[in-house]
């Protein structure tokens, strides 16, 4: 048992911090808004700069141009990026599609896409969810009919981040309606400029364009864009999901929000001249929340450590998804109430002052306990896989 990072890890964090100090705009608070042209330009610039250092694909094997960095280094990368609310850490290409192609892709697919992803080239998006799937992903209905050497796709995908910016989508489609529901699914790569694709923005409860619905109307995709076997797409997709919950993001966001709230309390005076933080009950709540963040953080660290040891961290990943998203919401809930009326200002302008941002931040983070497998689904996973409780 040992609870600090080693010298290599500390040095990497330092290097990354300096990089971010240099690359991020002055006074950057974040988060980035990729739906604005300015925000999209920043995203792309950062992605390129990260790619140039090899950081986006640092965990990849050397044969594919990676550095075979340890999961702990990779965790530090995500932790620091999220803490800074820095854009450019594309996961769709580097963390999801890349490893999938390495495992299931043809030689041609690997040659075509892997170097491009490593260089921060094409933007990928992920087409898994559909309006009726929710947590039950295997119930997806978007259908691809194999006609000769082409698939023809009809249906729609939803909650697709960056679809309005993406060049390509990797997606799951149903290719056999008669098969058992996990069986008749295929994994495809689709050019977003294909005729028949329409991207409709979805505005979230924070008023931001964070998702899209993508409609497919007779969209043609060549058969060489299939990854893995026909009807084996569930297997292709699920191979990755366990490891890619990105829970350290929630820990870092919680940490950053906590610090912003603490700083606000430490610099804002009540009418009687006292600082908000002079109030012991404010401090006590901050201390409780700090401990909650630490709990989530160390489960997340454990997940990375388990990976360094070669263990698949299924239960622990679910635990840290729950702990991290709940801590994140709890921090912002406290902040909104603490700030009082100023914390309820909610206009579209950008605010440097926390009071003008915190309500939006809370609304945004509502999705944490819901997306990527609701926390209820995570508890089911813990119960079934980790604790081996009976299903009936």
């Amino acid at each position: 048992m040992w609870f600090e990072f080693n010298d290599e890890e500390l040095a990497f964090r330092e290097e990354l911090r300096e990089f971010l100090d240099d690359e991020l705009p002055d006074g950057w608070i974040g988060p980035n808004d990729e739906s604005s042209d300015e925000g999209w330009a920043l995203y792309k610039r950062m992605r390129k700069a990260l790619a140039d250092r090899g950081w986006l694909t640092m965990t990849w094997p050397k044969e594919y141009g990676g550095q075979e960095a340890s999961p702990m280094i990779s965790l530090i990368f995500a932790e620091e990026m999220s803490y800074r609310r820095a854009p450019g850490n594309d996961r769709f290409g580097t963390r999801m599609l890349g490893p999938t192609l390495m495992h299931f892709g043809t030689e041609e697919q690997k040659r075509k896409y892997l170097p491009d992803i490593a260089q921060g080239g094409l933007q990928w998006c992920q087409g898994y969810s559909e309006p009726n799937t929710g947590s039950d992903l295997a119930s997806l209905q978007t259908f691809a009919e194999l006609r000769g050497d082409e698939f023809v796709i009809n249906g729609s995908k939803i909650w697709t981040s960056l679809a309005h910016r993406a060049d390509m989508m990797f997606m799951l489609v149903r290719t056999d309606r008669e098969a058992e529901r996990h069986s008749g699914i295929t994994f495809l790569l689709v050019d977003m400029k294909s005729p028949g694709i329409q991207v409709n923005p979805i505005i979230n409860i924070a008023g931001a364009h964070s998702f899209n619905q993508v409609m497919f109307d007779d969209v043609h995709v060549p058969i060489e864009n299939m990854v893995g076997e026909l009807n084996d797409g569930w297997n292709v997709a699920m191979n990755l999901l366990n490891f890619e919950r990105g829970n350290i993001d929630y820990v870092s966001w919680a940490q950053r929000s906590w610090e912003e709230i603490r700083d606000y309390a430490a610099t804002t005076r009540r009418f009687d001249g006292s600082l908000m933080i002079d109030d012991m009950k404010v401090r006590r709540r901050l201390a409780e929340l700090e401990a909650e963040i630490e709990m989530a953080r160390y489960i997340t660290y454990e997940v990375a450590w388990l990976q360094t040891q070669g263990y698949p961290p299924s239960t622990e990943a679910s635990m840290c998804k729950i702990a991290a998203t709940e801590a994140n919401c709890a921090v912002l809930d406290f902040g909104v109430e603490l700030l009082g009326m100023p914390g309820l200002i909610d206009d579209p302008d950008e605010h440097e002052d926390l009071a003008g941002r915190i309500f939006k931040m809370r609304m945004y983070q509502t999705s944490g306990p819901i997306l990527a497998g609701t926390n209820e689904i995570q508890k089911n996973i813990i119960a079934y896989r980790g604790l081996e409780l009976p299903r009936r």
Partner: protein
């Protein structure tokens, strides 16, 4: 003990539910949340014609002479419909203050006009520091031979950009005093800055610069403003708690409907035991908060000035703040991704319920009042 509605109350409930379903649908609520004033004159005129604005105003001053219990029945529906406009601010809080502390002249001048909706009166009860301490004010009223001169700023005044009359605490040489300020016609500089708020109702920062008012503009005696503040806060807290419970109840109903319909893994998600327990918790919380909010209305109707009534109101608002907050997030969790979209109505409730917690005493303020008077 009586947990039911009498005939009049049942009539209010039914007609409010019917009218608001028709006139305050989600489209209207959404449009008003984007509107700088937050409501329309047409809508307000109709509300006035329904006699809702004068519900608790004495008949002699143009109202219906009912009490806070009757009003709470309306407020419950008002909250459930997320209806826009300064009902609580004008017809509950300001009307109660003018009715109790106003001179006969003030009553005659303001109450009938509030009852018709012709006059919008609003209280200024947020502290300059953004807290719910109305005494945190830098407004000063200097007494002169022919009245007072007011200068300073008051923040987050609800619907201040529509108001005809603002009830504003200011410091005078004799202590805190409430001024009934006709802000549209006041002599001097009045700068009103509307702020876009999460609740969808506008709040305004109001800056007064050498505003001159006659001596007769104080509501209640000079230096005795705390009594007026307390009376307004108790009525506002009770009204908001009741609105919140109405909104929480609507959220609960909608969530229950949703989980009955939404299917996952081959069955409605409402067939999953964890979701069932979420729904049972929500329903229990609504009921708990409903009873305490109703009891607060009863306490104000029967004995508003007793310390026990203050505690009952504190309990009601603390409970509504705490439990409706829980309800909102359980509702989001049960709705999943669809509840995270702007298009779905759930966030309309979320925004209001979270915002209303800060009005007329936030969670901590009510808890500390209870704690201090244990």
């Amino acid at each position: 003990m009586d947990f039911g509605l009498n005939e009049t109350q049942e009539l209010i409930r039914a007609s409010a539910a019917e009218f608001l379903a028709d006139r305050s649908p989600s489209d209207f609520v959404r449009a008003m949340a984007e509107d700088e004033r937050g409501y329309t004159d047409d809508f307000w005129q109709e509300i006035g014609e329904l006699a809702w604005l004068g519900l608790t105003i004495p008949e002699v001053h143009g109202g219906s002479g009912m009490d806070m219990i009757d009003m709470s029945v309306l407020l419950n529906e008002w909250g459930a419909a997320l209806a826009p406009g300064p009902l609580v601010e004008s017809a509950v809080v300001s009307a109660a203050a003018i009715n109790k502390f106003g001179t006969e002249t003030q009553k005659q001048e303001w109450l009938p006009a509030i009852a018709t909706g012709q006059t919008i009166a609003v209280p200024s009860l947020t502290g300059i520091d953004g807290s719910t301490n109305p005494n945190a004010t830098n407004l000063r009223a200097a007494e002169t031979t022919n009245g007072y001169v007011l200068s300073g700023t008051t923040r987050f005044v609800p619907y201040g950009n529509s108001a005809d009359l603002a009830l504003i605490p200011a410091e005078t040489d004799t202590g805190t005093t409430i001024f009934a300020l006709p802000i549209k016609t006041a002599e001097g500089t009045v700068n009103i800055t509307p702020l876009k708020m999460a609740s969808g109702a506008p709040a305004t920062d109001i800056e007064l610069n050498e505003v001159v008012v006659p001596s007769a503009s104080t509501l209640g005696n000079p230096g005795e403003g705390q009594d007026v503040i307390d009376h307004m806060t108790l009525h506002g807290a009770t009204a908001r708690a009741t609105q919140m419970v109405g909104a929480g109840s609507a959220v609960t109903d909608r969530t229950i409907d949703y989980v009955k319909e939404r299917r996952q893994f081959g069955r409605p998600i409402g067939a999953f035991q964890v979701i069932q327990h979420y729904m049972a918790d929500m329903a229990t919380k609504v009921k708990s908060a409903q009873h305490l909010a109703n009891r607060a209305a009863w306490a104000l109707a029967t004995n508003a000035d007793s310390p026990q009534s203050s505690r009952i109101v504190n309990q009601a608002k603390w409970t509504a703040n705490t439990l409706m907050h829980d309800i909102v997030w359980t509702a989001h969790q049960s709705h999943g991704a669809i509840g995270f979209t702007w298009e779905h109505d759930l966030h309309l409730y979320t925004r209001r319920i979270l915002s209303w917690r800060a009005d007329y005493g936030d969670t901590e303020t009510h808890l500390e009042n209870l704690a201090r008077t244990l």
